[in-house]
Each structure stands twice: as C-alpha cells, then as structure tokens.
C-alpha cells in the first residue's frame, strides 16, 4: 500500500520570525498574513506574471490567476554553492530549473543547509522574486525527501491545484484559494482577483482522438523522455503497450512507422527501440 508522507510538515522552529518578516516584505498587503503555500512546478513559475504595474517592485506573482505568497517545490538539487551569509542552489523538478537562495542567520540554518547535497531530492518552501526577466526564489525551509512518494504526491497536488484554480476562473471574477492537503492548510483562505481570466483553460490531460498521427506523436514522445533517451537498450514495446492500454498491433504500426522514417531505431532486438534524438 502506498503511504503518503506529508511534505509540508515542517517543524515550527524552522520558520524564524525574521524569515516570516522577509516573506511579508516581498508581498503586497493584499496577501500579507497568508502563510499557506502553493504547490507549483518550475514550468508554472516560469510562466507566472507579476500582478500590478509591470515590473513594479514587490508585486506578487500570479499563477493560474491566483496571487502566490509562498510556493512549494519538490525537485533535484544541483549547483549548490555555500558562502558565509547564504547558500545558493538550483532545483530541477523535471519541468525546468529555478535558482534559490537560502540566507544563513544562525546555526540552525547552517545545519539545515548542510543536510542538503547535490543530486538529492528536496522539498523547498520559499517566495518568488523577479529580477530583470529572470525569476529566482528565496528559500525559507529546505528538507530532504525521505520517501519518493512525496515527489509523486507533490505533482498530484500541483495538478489538483491547477485544475481547481483554472476551473473556478470560468464565470467567477473573484476566486478563493485554499491550500490543499491537511498538512499544509492552516485554516486561512485568501480572496484575490485574478489578473487575467482565461475563458478556455487548457486541459491538463490530452486525450488522443484515435487518429494515427496523434498516436505516432504520442508514442514518439515516450521514446523522447529523458530517462528513455539515456537508457542503454531503449524501451520495450510491451512498456509502450502498457502505457497506452491499446492493442499491441496498433502500437506496432506506430513503432514501425517511426522506425521507417528514422525517428527511432531498434537496439538489442526487434522489441527494444530508442529515439534517434541527440541529447
């Protein structure tokens, strides 16, 4: 049975008053006091816009029409650099990369950052900063992920949050943002007005309409996934069949077509294929 740990269950001592003050100073009064965190992916952050006058200092970022105070990311640490006053690192969650800085004020902060190493999965809570078109974030709390289910849970939370926010945008100018998951909810809910209302939010899951071209493209995308590109022997046809839950004959036709036009090639036998895409 899958056990869900709580990625947000940070001990209160990890949030110092100075950090909360820092968080407050960067967000407009409208969202001050709301300490609930929003689970996001780097891609969502990279597409986020600042509300208010463009480039206005301290203007909060808007994701899916919701102003974000604090954000939570789960991803792989790289490029960790330690200095006397701060530690900077990059988080890669598979959708993109985001630079973080964690200010070091006391021994507790040092201990927290020391536990984080390159190549480790971590859960980070922080606030966003926009700096000349480039987004970066200040981290308040970093914690190594001990159970990989946390990563899966985080992405599920991101999907659910995105669906909730985009659904409620249709037909309602004002929207309620409630933090999701009992672990992160603290009873606060926040009323904000979205800066842009999308009439047709993009569906999160694309459903193939059964046309051959679509299936070919979707099968090719599986082969082009980074893990499959790096795999020595590529992907077995059975894995593709399992993934799409379609008859093997249909998948075989798509694979034969992709092999004929040179997008994929067979490796150790006629059942293992790999993308010709150069990584």
């Amino acid at each position: 049975m899958m056990s869900f740990s709580q990625p947000d269950a940070f001990s209160p001592s990890q949030f110092t008053s100075s950090q909360n003050a820092a968080a407050d100073s960067t967000t407009p009064s409208k969202s001050r006091g709301a300490s609930s965190t929003m689970p996001l992916t780097v891609k969502q952050i990279s597409e986020a816009q600042q509300s208010g006058i463009t480039g206005e200092k301290g203007a909060p970022f808007v994701v899916d029409g919701v102003e974000t105070a604090n954000v939570r990311l789960v991803g792989l640490v790289s490029g960790k650099t330690e200095r006397n006053t701060d530690v900077s690192f990059t988080i890669d969650d598979g959708t993109g990369r985001l630079d973080f800085i964690r200010w070091v004020n006391d021994g507790a902060d040092s201990a927290e950052t020391a536990a984080v190493q390159n190549g480790m999965y971590v859960s980070v809570i922080g606030s966003l900063k926009g700096l000349q078109e480039r987004k970066r974030a200040t981290a308040f709390a970093i914690r190594p992920v001990t159970d990989y289910n946390e990563v899966t849970l985080h992405f599920i939370q991101c999907v659910r949050m995105h669906l909730e926010n985009t659904k409620s945008q249709i037909g309602s100018p004002a929207k309620t943002y409630s933090a999701m998951g009992s672990s992160s909810s603290n009873g606060f809910s926040e009323m904000t007005t979205p800066t842009s209302v999308k009439s047709n939010p993009a569906p999160v899951l694309s459903v193939t309409n059964g046309s051959k071209t679509d299936l070919n493209t979707e099968v090719l995308n599986v082969f082009r996934e980074p893990a499959n590109v790096e795999s020595e022997h590529g992907v077995h046809i059975d894995e593709i069949v399992k993934r799409f839950r379609l008859p093997e004959a249909k998948i075989k036709v798509a694979i034969d077509y992709l092999a004929d036009i040179g997008h994929i090639y067979s490796t150790i036998d006629e059942s293992h294929y790999k993308s010709a895409f150069n990584e």
Binding site: I261, G262, Y265, T267, I268, D269, A276, F277
Partner: protein
Amino acid sequence: YLEDRIRRSGSLFSASGLCGEPADATLASEESMFSVGMVICDGEGHLNEKSILLQGSVEHSRGQHVRLDLKDVDRFSLFPGQVVGIQGHNPSGHCFVVSKLNDSIPNFVDAQLPRAKKQAVDSEGNQSSDVVSRVLSSVIAAGPYTTSDNLLFEPLQELISYASRKQPQLLILMGPFIDSDHPEIKKGAVDKSFQDIFLFEILRKLQDFTQYLGHNVRVILIPSVRDAHHDFVFPQPAFDLNLPEDITHQITCLANPSLFSCNEIHFGCCTMDILKHLSGEEISRKPPGEKHGDRIGRICTHILKQQSYYPLYPPPAGVPLDFSLANGALEIASAPDVLLLPSDLAPFVKVLSLDESSEEPKRFICMNPGRLAKGIGGGTFVELNYNEDTDKTSASLIRI
C-alpha cells in the same frame, strides 16, 4: 574548416550563375538580396522554427549571425551546420525574411567549367566507361560482426559462407569489427589484445575466403570509430595491416570516410552514423495537405547536396570530429553512384535523385545495410548487383 565551407559554397553559388554575388544578410535592407551561410541554433537545445540563425562568412558578414524568418517558405528541411543560399530581405537588421531557400550547393564541376569543356569531360567519361562495363556483384555488410553474448564472430562466418556460395566480385565490410560497445570488450574480460582478436578472428577468416575464391574477389575493409583496436578520431585513417604479399591486392583497407571505384562504379562510404545524428536534429516543413515524403531519403540527399560526409555541426557528444583533418577528408568532390551509410536506423536500399526539378536528375543508390549482429541475434546485410545504371540494378536486404 567551417569558414572555408561557407566561403567555398558562396563562390560555388555565385559561379553557378543561378544567384548573384552573396551579400551580408545581417545588414538592414529593403532590397531583395542573396546570401550564403550556415544554419545554427540560437541556444543549446534542438533546432526549431523560432531558433534558426544564419551564420555568415567572415568575408561577407564578419562571421555574424542573423535570425531567419521562414514564414514565406512553404517547404524546407534544415539542420545545424547546413550551408544554404537564401533570397530575401532584412528590413530591421535583426531578422532576415526568407522568400527562397536553396539547400543544394552547386556542383564544383558544373559551376567551374565552361559549357564546351563540360561536354568534353562528359564524352571522355562515356568513352572510358565503354572500356570497362559498369557491372559489379557485391555483398555489403557493417559491424558488429559478433553477437553481444560472445566473441565467436558467428554472424561473420555466416556472411562469409553466403559470399562463398554467391561468389561476388566485391565484399565490402564496414566497422566496427572489434566493437568497443560489446559487453566483453567494455568489461575488458578478454585475454587477447584487440589487435589479436582482429587478426585471428576476422582477418584469418577473410584470408581463407580470398584463397577459396581466388583472384576474382576483392575485399574492402573500412574502419569505424567504434573499433576498439583503431584510432578514435573522425575522419579516420585506414587499418594498417601487414598482409602477405600474395593477398595485398585482394584485401584493401580504406579510410573512413572514403570514395572508391570498382569497374567504373563510384562508391562513397562513411561509417560514422550520420543518418542517426541528422535524424535527431533535422526539422522540416511541407506544404499543407501534402503527403509525408520519404524522410530518410531526404536526409540521405542532404549529404550529397552539402557535399560533405558529415555536414552536421556541432556534432553530438561522443563524436571525435577533428576539424584539422576534415577539410579534404569529409568533402564529397563528385556524387557517387552508390552511397553506403551504415546506421543503427532501420536498414534500407533506396534509389534517390539529387535534383528533382531538372530534366535528367542525377540518380544514385543509397543504402544502410544495417548491423550484421544485433544483440544476441543476427542482423542484416545487402547484396547488390549493379548493372550500368540504377534502372537495371538489383539489390536485396538479407537477414541472417
């Protein structure tokens, strides 16, 4: 090398008379102009329609690049490193709006020689080809020559048995012979040197084969960068074999890439997997409603259109491309009759033409014989019976 390619292509374009003198595409101008340069990507990722830049030569545009807008071009096929001629204008100085794109570098002979001289060369060629009839039977294979579970070289033995029965005039074997990707070679779990394995397991079999068939057969060996017993560099020198004198004229070692002829039939060969590399980088557009063309055929023709065995730049990680050796070695001076491009991609034999628009397009055969061994099983090779031209030629893709 890159600068030379752009400059030489520019002079070939202007000498062909089809286009004017190349201009600087980076300068703002409302006038239509013609420019020559190399396609590059504006970032580290893969090429896409928004990231296409044209890098000019130092001579014409101080080596600067300009973004290309291809919205008015209904058909193109591009990859990084490709040298193209473009017609269009650059209203802002930041973006060149392309109206016409030419991805085929004019042939050196066509561009340089006056018409009378050209005919003389052609008729001379016809006379010489009457002396030797352009007929040739051949068997063509590419390594690995042993399955991944042992170093017994059973697929090679099968191939030699087949060739002994068919008795072709030419046996072309392309590397890797001692595959550096073979599990046992990788682990270093062999008690002989790589050179010894090559000599005893491969060369000895080939010597027996040539002795069995007598003087009617020629064997050609071409290395690969995956050969553990040979120089890891591309372009790659030929194997240095000290063969007994009686068979040196029968077993010939050639460089990678190389151009050779047999019975007046010209073969071009490159064992670097350029097809796979180009397939991973090429982007294309076709007019709406048009059926999907032959993508692999298109990639093959790029090699001859670009007059280079390895027109891709930058090469993928792991390709030991040495530009100090590249200048003459990678150049395809004249289009071969048969182009051999062994690749991990699906094996094929295709008859392709270089210029569909001309009345008599130059036709050539392009083939990927596949790998003779694939994992723990056998793979494929090609039997080619060339007969004067592509129309009467037959080829079979054979699985072992």
